[in-house]
Amino acid sequence: MASLGGSSSSSTEYIVRVPKNTSKKYSIMAFNSGDKVNCSSWTQARMERDMSNRRMYGVEETEEGAAGSEFGKKQREEARRKKFGIVTREFKVEDQPWILKVNGKAGKRFKGTKKGGITENASYYIFTQCPDGAFEAFPVNGWYNFVPQAKHRTLTAEEAEEEWGRRNKVVNHFSIMLQRRLREQERGPDDDDEEGEKGGKKKKKKGGRGGDLRIHDLEDDLELSSDESDSSGGEDGDSKPKKKEGDVKGKVKKKKKKKRGSDSEANEDSDDGDFEGLEVDYMSDESSSEEEVGEEKAKSNKEAVPKGIDEASESEEESEEEKQNEEEGKEEEEEEEGKKTPVQTKKKRDSSGESDTSEDSDIDGEAASALFMKKRTPPKRGGGRGSGGSSRTGSRPGTPSIDSASTSNTLRAAASKLEQGKRQVVGGSSESPAAKRLKMESSSTAVTTQSPAPSGKSTPQPPSGKSTPSSSDVQLTEEAVRRYLIRKPMTTKDLLKKFQTKRTGLSSEQTVNVLAQILKRLNPERKNVNDKMHFYLTE
């Protein structure tokens, strides 16, 4: 080592040696600076080759030993591979990645992949200084890039894509992994208890990915028309049975995020997320509403609903729903345990016993539909309600059955009448929608407030007189027939059309019979117009 003095510089020379007989192979262990790896802080480290890529000969194919194996199979397979030119890369141990485990089981894990081509055009040497001052240079044999391995669970690609699609809806990201774990548990050992427990605990939190429920996305048609009255967010699904309002199958919420409680994952209240809380119809096959054809019709009837009615009935809604839910709770549980029914509307009147009005509105159409936008339950429920009225879920105090005796009577009567097959409504006379609405409201309030009688707008009793069990609007009465025939001559067909079975609640046979009787009584005059027999009356 020679030192040369200089004014402002000092230079030193060192001998460089390249040791010849070194048995040690030098390699580089490269970490990304971002990982903040400090090797000197390691207390313990273990390293081994990652042999997971090794494919042993003959093990790829099923190994069976003597049984099932063929004589000379190996050779034949090899010859076959050669024939097809399948070249399997040789498994070189030196090229395999390293697995580095730092600080034991609980510490960090790294995977070191060999970087190729470092010795191709230039050589790397490690210069270390020896105690005697000289430098020793060792050639670098391999370069391995070490990356930390995630210990926490990650989503697979499919799951990640799913979550990506829901990113705007989901705020609670912790639940994502939670659900995944739950699902894995389901798939894995079927430990019912464990699952049920966890399910129960977590169901409130987790967003429903119920197995047998299909949730259709309403993002496309988010006009909050009445059609979409029923929408339970996908999240609701599984939490249903556990909910307090367990029977909130008809989250009759349009766009309103009222019962957000059911949403297990908090939805953002962003502007563009107005529709996010939309509760979606469950397209499950076993919806009870399918049984009710009428409901479909009613649903279709629900066209543009005057907003006013909405708002007006809004305030009632919640309480109504609550109440209704309770009332229907029993039936619903009976019928739809675990099922989500796309209950579009609930019949408000059910609880109030104003079966007629509600039914009427149903059947009538627009005006009525406004009222029943979301407050419908199938008549079956009504029936069940009637019968089970007394045994209603008592979670809510003051359910109608318990309070007002009078109303309960009427309720029961109404309910039983309801049960008569089709949309038979205990006949009220035709009333204007407004009146009906008032009636309903009053009746609902009646029920909630336990007032003995609804404000006397109407009674639920069918008006005496024509005893035909028909809807208030369309009754197959002599009076009605007379009116028609006075107005203009009509054929029997026309008359029948006037008294549609759906509206009158009669079967076609009944209609025919009744109509025939009426005609006999009236004895209208006959006229032939266009080769068709017309009846008419002159007053």
């Binding site: 001998i15 460089v16 990304n32 090797c39 273990r46 030993g65 049984a67 063929e70 790397y124």
Partner: protein
């Protein structure tokens, strides 16, 4: 039944951490190929040259000078005689920057130890001079030479494709066959024993393979096989013979002596 590598993973080697604990610092130097080749030729103690570090007002100039005796180039062929490897190599220093580099070593006994951390990176560059240019030219000439060469020949090669009455391989084959002779029918029971022991090793056999194993004429063998075995026409084991179920005793690899 894929025996994946996990089962065959080597034992974990404890890494010797003394190097990093002592905060040993090393340099990582990138060296040109020709220079590395010269270094490999070092003799004796392995001295290859001298490293000169000049510290000037905070900055350090590092340069390496190759020993004279290592400047003769032989790697590039005879033409290299006129050219010598350059001697002066200034080092370009770099910071370690975006990577944390550690150095570990493996011994032949599979012992791994962490030698230290890289504190300085450098590139060894030859001093650009006439000599170096000549060297480079030589290298380029060598590398641009095509690997395959087409030569025109004066006379055609006549060692092959000559007609032969009987090919060498054929002749040998026939000789071998004559030596073996025709297959003789052995005792029935003996043959059966042979078959049973064969089927102990494998479940399915081709008739040809069985002939080879038992050295029996085909018809005779087939007779016996029909007695104790069954022929598979369909399935994965296409046209193979296997023992009749009552004779089989396969148990997941365990073999038992199959009896009559």
């Amino acid at each position: 039944n894929l025996i994946k590598g996990s089962a065959a993973m080597s034992e974990k080697t404890e890494v010797d951490l003394t190097g990093v604990k002592q905060n040993t610092g090393v340099w990582l130097v990138k060296v040109p190929k020709y220079l590395a080749q010269q270094w490999a030729k070092a003799s004796g103690k392995g001295e290859i040259g001298k490293l000169k570090i000049v510290k000037k007002q905070g900055k350090a100039d590092v340069s390496f000078t190759l020993n004279e005796d290592l400047t003769s180039l032989s790697a590039l062929g005879e033409k290299a005689a006129s050219v010598r490897a350059p001697r002066d190599h200034p080092f370009t220093m770099h910071s370690v920057g975006g990577q944390t580099l550690a150095v570990f070593t493996e011994t032949s006994a599979d012992k791994i130890s962490l030698e230290g951390m890289v504190v300085q990176r450098a590139e060894c560059r030859p001093a650009v001079n006439e000599n170096y240019m000549k060297l480079k030219k030589l290298q380029i000439e060598v590398s641009t030479k095509p690997q395959r060469l087409t030569e025109q020949m004066d006379r055609a090669v006549t060692n092959n494709f000559k007609p032969v009455s009987n090919h060498v391989a054929n002749v040998e084959y026939e000789k071998k066959k004559r030596a073996e002779g025709r297959m003789v029918r052995a005792d029935r029971q003996q043959v059966m024993d042979m078959l049973f022991s064969a089927f102990e090793k494998h479940q399915y056999y081709n008739i040809k393979d069985l002939v080879e194993v038992t050295k029996q004429p085909v018809t005779y063998l087939k007779e016996i096989l029909r007695e104790i075995g069954v022929y598979n026409t369909k399935g994965t084991h296409k046209s193979t013979w296997e023992l009749k179920p009552e004779y089989r005793h396969y148990q997941g690899g365990e073999e038992e002596i199959k009896g009559d």
